[in-house]
C-alpha cells in the first residue's frame, strides 16, 4: 500500500495544486489543527448534520467524521472529469431509456438480454412510459477513484438515489468558517449554487401539462431515515416543501399535496424513497411511506418522479461493465472515463480466473451497495476466501471481481498528526434539459490506516473537495 499515489506529494515539493495547502500545513501547529477539528464538530452538531448507520449500537445521531484538510483538484484534471461525467451520464440515461423503450442495446446483442430482463433492478412498471426529456437519472452520483496523476477510474454508478450532496455543501461551508485565510489564498470554484441548479433541473422536467411555474416537492421517508437531515436541508435550500407520503394524494390521476390552504397540484417529485415503497398499489403493499396511486399518475404522464422508477438497473455492477459500450453505442463517442477492469463471474473462463486469484481481487455482489457483501481478497483470511469462493460457485451471476486498486491518498488529520489516507470522489451530475455538474463532489476518506473502504457506514469520513480555477 505504500506505493499509493499521494495527491499532495512530498510536503517539501508538493504537486502544484497543493502548494497552498502544503505551506499551510507546514506553518500550522498540530495543536491548532486539533482545536479547529473540535470547532468543526461543534459546527456540524449545531446544524444537526447527522448520519444514522444501519447497524446496531452506537450513537444513532452520530456525525460522519469531517477531515479538515481539503482535497484539491486542479482545473485541468477537473475539465477532463467534467466532460467524462457528462458523457457517461448521457449514455446511462440513454441506456435506461432504451431498456424501458425499444431495447435496441439488448437486441443488438451488446448486453446479454437476461442481465437486463431478469435483473432485480428492471421495473416492468416502466415499460413503454416516456418521461420528460428522456431523463431517468436526474441526479447521478458517479463514484471515482484515482490511482495516478492522470489515472481516474469509475468504480460504480449510482443512478437510483445517490446521497451525500449535503456533505459536499456543508463541508465547504465549514472550511470557509474555519479557515478563511486558507480559502483566500486560493481561487476555488464555488459549489453553493447546487440547490439552485437542482431546482432548475427538476423544474425543467415537469410534465408537459404543468404550468410555467411547476410545483416541486421533496418526498422523504420521514425523520427516522438516516438521510433525513439531507432531505430537509435540500428542501430548505430549494425552498420547496419536504413532504411525506401522507401529505400527498392522487385523484383522477393527478397528484396533490394537502396544505392548510387546500389541495395543491404537484408536478415534480424529487423522491428519496426507494422504488419498492413508492406506491403500495404498485409495489410493496405494506408500504406506509408511499402514495397509493402514484404510479398510475406517473404512467398517465401527470407527474415526474426524480429519479425515475427503475433507474437502478444501471447501478447493477454487472451492467456497469457494459457502460463503455453504451457510450459508443448511444453516443458514437469513445468513453472519456475508464471503468475498472472487471471480471464477470457469470462467464466460465473469467470465473475460473477469479477463483484462482481471489487473494488479489475485490469481489462484489452485483446488487450490493454501501460496501456490504464484498470480499477484499488481500485483506481476507484464507477461510474467508474459501467461504466466498463457495458463494461464487453457487451463484456466479451475482458476482463480479476487480483488481485491488491502489487508491490515491490525501493528507488527513488523524490521531497522531497528518498522515496519508485513501480517498475516493463522488461528483453529482444533474440531468434535466441540460447537464449540470457542480465542480468537485464529495470526497470520502478511509480514516483507518491502510483501509480502502471509504463508506460512511463503515467508518469513512469526508473532506471538502476543491476544484481550483484556471
Amino acid at each position: 500500500m505504500t506505493s499509493a499515489f499521494d495527491e499532495m506529494g512530498e510536503q517539501a515539493s508538493p504537486r502544484p495544486a497543493y502548494t497552498g495547502v502544503a505551506a499551510w500545513l507546514a506553518e500550522t501547529p498540530a495543536a491548532a489543527l486539533s482545536a479547529k477539528l473540535d470547532e468543526a464538530e461543534l459546527i456540524f452538531r449545531r446544524t444537526g448534520i447527522t448520519f444514522a448507520v444501519y447497524t446496531e449500537g452506537g450513537d444513532p445521531e452520530r456525525l460522519i467524521p469531517f477531515d479538515i484538510i481539503p482535497r484539491v483538484l486542479d482545473a485541468r484534471e477537473w475539465s477532463v472529469l467534467e466532460r467524462g461525467l457528462a458523457q457517461r451520464v448521457r449514455a446511462l440515461n440513454a441506456f435506461i431509456a432504451d431498456v424501458y423503450g425499444p431495447q435496441e442495446f439488448v437486441r443488438s446483442g451488446k448486453i446479454p438480454a437476461p442481465l437486463v430482463l431478469h435483473n432485480p433492478g428492471f421495473a416492468a412498471e416502466m415499460v413503454g412510459l416516456r418521461v420528460p426529456a428522456g431523463v431517468y437519472t436526474h441526479i447521478a452520483g458517479i463514484d471515482m477513484v484515482r490511482v495516478g496523476p492522470d489515472e481516474f477510474y469509475v468504480l460504480e454508478d449510482n443512478c437510483r438515489t445517490p446521497s451525500g450532496v449535503s456533505y459536499m455543501l456543508e463541508n465547504r461551508e465549514a472550511t470557509m468558517r474555519l479557515f478563511p485565510d486558507l480559502i483566500r489564498r486560493h481561487r476555488i470554484r464555488p459549489v453553493s449554487h447546487y440547490p439552485e441548479e437542482l431546482l432548475g433541473t427538476l423544474r425543467s422536467v415537469a410534465p408537459p401539462a404543468a404550468s410555467d411555474n411547476p410545483t416541486v416537492v421533496l418526498l422523504t421517508p420521514g425523520s427516522y431515515n438516516s438521510a433525513y437531515y439531507e432531505h430537509s436541508f435540500l428542501a430548505d435550500e430549494m425552498g420547496v416543501e419536504l413532504v411525506e407520503g401522507v401529505d400527498l394524494m392522487v385523484e383522477d390521476l393527478v397528484v396533490y399535496m394537502r396544505t392548510t390552504r387546500g389541495r395543491q397540484r404537484v408536478d415534480v417529485i424529487y423522491r428519496r424513497i426507494d422504488d419498492a415503497f413508492l406506491d403500495p398499489l404498485a409495489f410493496r403493499p405494506d408500504s406506509a411511506l408511499g402514495v397509493p396511486g402514484l404510479m398510475a399518475a406517473y404512467r398517465a404522464g401527470n407527474v415526474t418522479l426524480a429519479n425515475a422508477v427503475g433507474a437502478g438497473i444501471a447501478d447493477d455492477k454487472a451492467v456497469y461493465t457494459y457502460v463503455p459500450e453504451m457510450v459508443r453505442f448511444f453516443l458514437g463517442e469513445e468513453p472519456i472515463l475508464k471503468n475498472v477492469p472487471t471480471y464477470r463471474c457469470s462467464e466460465a473462463d473469467e470465473r475460473a480466473h477469479v477463483l484462482d486469484r481471489l487473494h488479489e481481487l475485490v469481489v462484489k455482489d452485483v446488487h450490493g451497495s454501501g460496501g456490504y457483501g464484498m470480499l477484499v481478497g488481500p485483506h481476507a483470511t484464507k477461510a474467508e476466501r474459501a467461504a466466498f469462493a463457495e458463494k461464487i460457485k453457487a451463484t456466479p451471476d451475482r458476482y463480479i471481481a476487480q483488481p485491488t486498486l491502489s487508491l490515491s491518498t490525501c493528507p488527513t488529520f488523524v490521531d497522531n498528526g497528518i498522515a496519508p489516507r485513501h480517498v475516493d470522489l463522488r461528483p453529482f451530475v444533474l440531468s434535466g434539459r441540460d447537464i449540470k455538474i457542480v465542480p468537485g463532489g464529495l470526497t470520502r476518506v478511509a480514516l483507518r490506516e491502510g483501509s480502502l473502504v471509504v463508506n460512511s457506514s463503515q467508518g469513512g469520513g469526508t473532506k471538502d473537495t476543491w476544484v481550483l480555477d484556471g
Binding site: A124, E125, G128, L253
Partner: protein
Amino acid sequence: MRIRIRHETRYRYDGPVDYAAQVVRLTPRDHEGQRVLSWRVADGSGRMLSGFEDGYGNRSHLVTLARRHEESSIVVTGEVETADTSGVVAGAIDPLPSLYFLRRTEATTPDAAIEALARAQEGVADPVERLHRLMLDVRARVAYEIGSTSVATSAAEALARGRGVCQDHAHVLIASSRLLGFPARYVSGYLWDGSLTGPAEASHAWAEVRIPGLGWVGLDAANGVSPTASYVRIATGLDYADAAPVRGIRRGGAGETLAVSVEVQQVQAQQ
C-alpha cells in the same frame, strides 16, 4: 360468440373509511379472436374512472375516494366478440419481450416437487404435446377446491397441498413451464360457462406459454383445455400480483366485506 359482462365489486366497511384507493385491471383489449364492442368502468355513482396503461399493456383504472365513506363500488360492463383460435393469442399488445417471462417471482419459484412435475414429460419431443400433458398433470395434481388457498399462496404451496383454485393451477403451470425454458405468463379474464343458461360466476385465470413456431398459447389447467371462444382475456403479468383484477388500500375501517358479482352471458346474434 358475443359475450356480455357485468362485473360489480362492492366494498362495505365496518366503520368509516377516510381514504381508499384501488387500481383495477378489468378492461379487455383487441387481439385476434377477441374484439371489444363496448366497455365501461365506472364507480358506484356511474362516473367513469380515470384510465392508464401499465407496463404490460393492461388497460387499468384508478379509483380514489378521499372523503369519509362506509361503502363504495366499481361497476364494469361491456360486450366482447370472440372467436376460437385454438388458444393461440396473436396480435395482442405485448410491450415486453417474451424472454422477460422466464423471470421468477415469489409466487412462481419452483421447488423440487414442481421440478419433478415439470420433468415428468421429458420424453415427449413435441413442445405442444408436452405442454398439453403438463397442463393435464397440473390439473390432476391440484384438485379444484374453492377457499383452499388465498391470493398469497405460492405455486409450490398449492402443489404441496394438492388443492387450489384457477389461480393456483395457473401459477403451478407457469412455474413448471419456465423451468423447462418456456416463457410463461399469468392471464386473468372471464369464462362463459356454456353448460349453464343465464348468468354465472365467471372470473377466471389461466396461463399463456410461449411455444416456438406458434407464439403465445393459452393453457387453462383448471379445465384442462386451451381457451376457446368462451374466454375473455383481460390482463397479463408474471403472476397474479401483476394481473390482479383489483388491488386496493384504505385508511380506517376495522374490516371490510367484499361482494363481487360477475355475470357473463352469451348474446344471441341478431338475425
